[in-house]
């Protein structure tokens, strides 16, 4: 009883502690670019402020996912099986590590869009739409981490030592697997946004190429999810 509660509380702390790293840095990058743009175009300040808040709210998604899992784990403390304790710890690891990449990655296109608006405020509508698409696709990796975490939390409490180790492995696989694709997707979206800022007429072409590029970047993330699901359900 005590040991499993310990694990779930530790998992809760890991989820929120690691989960706030990426989003915080990403939101900081957006605000940094916004302030830079304001220095260049003080007249466009209401527009820049509005779009900065939208970009930061979308970037915050990753941290909100971590908060959800963290709170769920906090209220699960007091379960009576060691197996559930280990799955709670793995769920915390999966979402905690899994939000680092997406939080950082979602900050990159936001920063690029703020830079573009600073150069040419009349492109702001097109850039906002493109930025939100880029950020939303960037978050795919953390959504997979959320899915695996929720599966781990709701897993039926039966299994031996091997299954426990497999669940821990699944959490680690998903968590570490989501770091790279998040940042990589963010880089793709960043340069697509810079391209749109240069010439908004290319938006259709850039969006299509960006989404294909991001889909292939996410392949490693899908491998990680497939491996974690195999670890959870097959072993």
């Amino acid at each position: 009883m005590l040991v499993s509660s310990l694990f779930s509380v530790i998992g809760s702390g890991i989820a929120m502690g690691l989960g706030s790293i990426g989003s915080a840095v990403g939101e900081g990058m957006i605000a940094m670019s916004a302030v830079d743009s304001l220095g260049r175009q003080p007249k466009a300040s209401p527009k820049i402020l509005r779009i900065m808040i939208i970009a930061q709210a979308v970037t915050e998604t990753a941290a909100i996912f971590a908060l959800v899992i963290s709170l769920l784990l906090l209220f699960q403390a007091g379960t009576d099986s060691l197996f559930k304790g280990v799955t709670y710890l793995s769920a915390g690891l999966a979402i905690g590590l899994g939000t680092i990449g997406a939080g950082l990655g979602a900050g990159l296109p936001g920063a690029a869009a703020m830079k573009g608006i600073g150069k040419q405020p009349k492109n702001s509508d097109v850039l906002t739409v493109h930025m939100i698409i880029g950020q939303a696709v960037t978050q795919t990796s953390t959504i997979f981490a959320l899915t695996v975490s929720l599966i781990l939390i709701m897993l039926a409490p039966d299994g031996g030592l091997l299954k426990m180790a497999a669940c821990l492995g699944a959490g680690l696989a998903m968590g570490f697997g989501a770091v790279g694709p998040g940042i990589g997707d963010g880089l793709v979206a960043r340069f697509a946004n810079l391209g749109v800022a240069r010439d908004p007429r290319n938006m259709g072409l850039l969006t299509r190429t960006m989404i294909i590029g991001q889909a292939i970047t996410e392949t490693t993330d899908i491998y990680a999810m497939v491996v974690s699901l195999i670890l959870i359900f097959v072993i």
Partner: protein, 284 residues
């Protein structure tokens, strides 16, 4: 706070199968649908060149989404998909915003309890501090049913609703792909993209790793599309419920409602709709 992780469940037996569903989600979905229907009919009743309040709200949404959809999909295709896109947006927006209505019934019940405690000695009110009031009300009072009525809860907070919306968009996108490219062209897009396989090589499409990648990618899109909405709305709703229950449903945390309810609800409805437009664009 003990109700936090709890999901209300009801079981329905239909043709010998027992189906478990969430009655609050079910009820709230119908509340949202009725709200949209009534407000749309009311807006249509008094149409004029100078728009009234309701008409101008609908025109605002229509103009905003029309510009983006026609700009992305082109004039002809955009016009075809516009009703679907606007319906999605309006439904998800109303579904996300219904959660900002506070738990009116419980608040009203608490107020009534405080008032009646002056006349009725069996109702005990304890003021622990200014914002922490605990009430003990006997079961048989006429207003105790107020505490049993469902709270306003976003239908999109339930993962079933989000998966249904994601699958709806998926089906619409694939149907459009088949219609636009023809059946063979649609199948070809799975193994021809990004490396084309010409002539007899097309028979060995199963050796192409990109075939499996495209297949998994199509399914993974549905998961990410629907769980994005679910995680955001569920997380925001959870934070609001925790803070409100710490305040005993007596004082409304306005800032949290404004950010997680109104703002995040609007942004997520827009993100969901924009991704649907982008998926349609990929099938062109």
């Amino acid at each position: 706070m003990d109700k936090l992780g709890e999901v209300s469940q009801a079981t329905l037996t239909l043709f010998g199968l027992s189906i478990t569903y969430n009655p609050i989600t079910f009820l709230m979905t119908w509340v949202v649908i009725l709200f949209i229907l009534v407000s749309a009919l009311a807006a249509r009743k008094k149409m004029s060149l100078v728009p009234g309040f309701l008409q101008s709200i609908f025109e605002l949404i229509y103009d905003f989404l029309k510009d983006i959809t026609l700009g992305t999909l082109g004039d002809e295709d955009g016009r075809k998909h516009l009703p679907f896109i606007i319906s999605l947006f309006v439904f998800i927006l109303c579904a996300n915003w219904i959660g900002i209505l506070p738990n009116v019934f419980a608040m009203f019940g608490t107020l009534l309890g405080v008032v009646f405690s002056f006349f009725d000695s069996s109702i005990i009110v304890t003021f622990n501090s200014l914002i922490d009031i605990s009430l003990s009300i006997p079961e048989n009072r006429w207003f105790s049913f107020l505490f049993d009525l469902p709270a306003f809860e976003e239908p999109t907070r339930s993962v079933n609703m989000d998966l249904a919306l994601g699958l709806l968009v998926f089906a619409a996108v694939q149907a459009y792909g088949v219609k636009n490219k023809g059946f063979w062209g649609y199948l070809k897009s799975y193994y021809n993209d990004p490396f084309p396989m010409k002539g007899w090589m097309a028979l060995f499409f199963f050796l192409n790793p990109f075939f499996y990648l495209n297949l998994i990618g199509a399914v993974a899109n549905v998961v990410s599309h629907s769980f994005r909405l679910f995680g955001n709305i569920f997380g925001g709703g959870m934070i609001i419920v925790i803070v409100s229950s710490l305040l005993k449903f007596f004082i409304v945390p306005v800032g949290l409602f404004a950010f997680f309810g109104i703002f995040a609800g609007l942004v997520q409805a827009f993100v969901f709709t924009m991704l649907a437009v982008t998926y349609i664009q990929q099938q062109q």
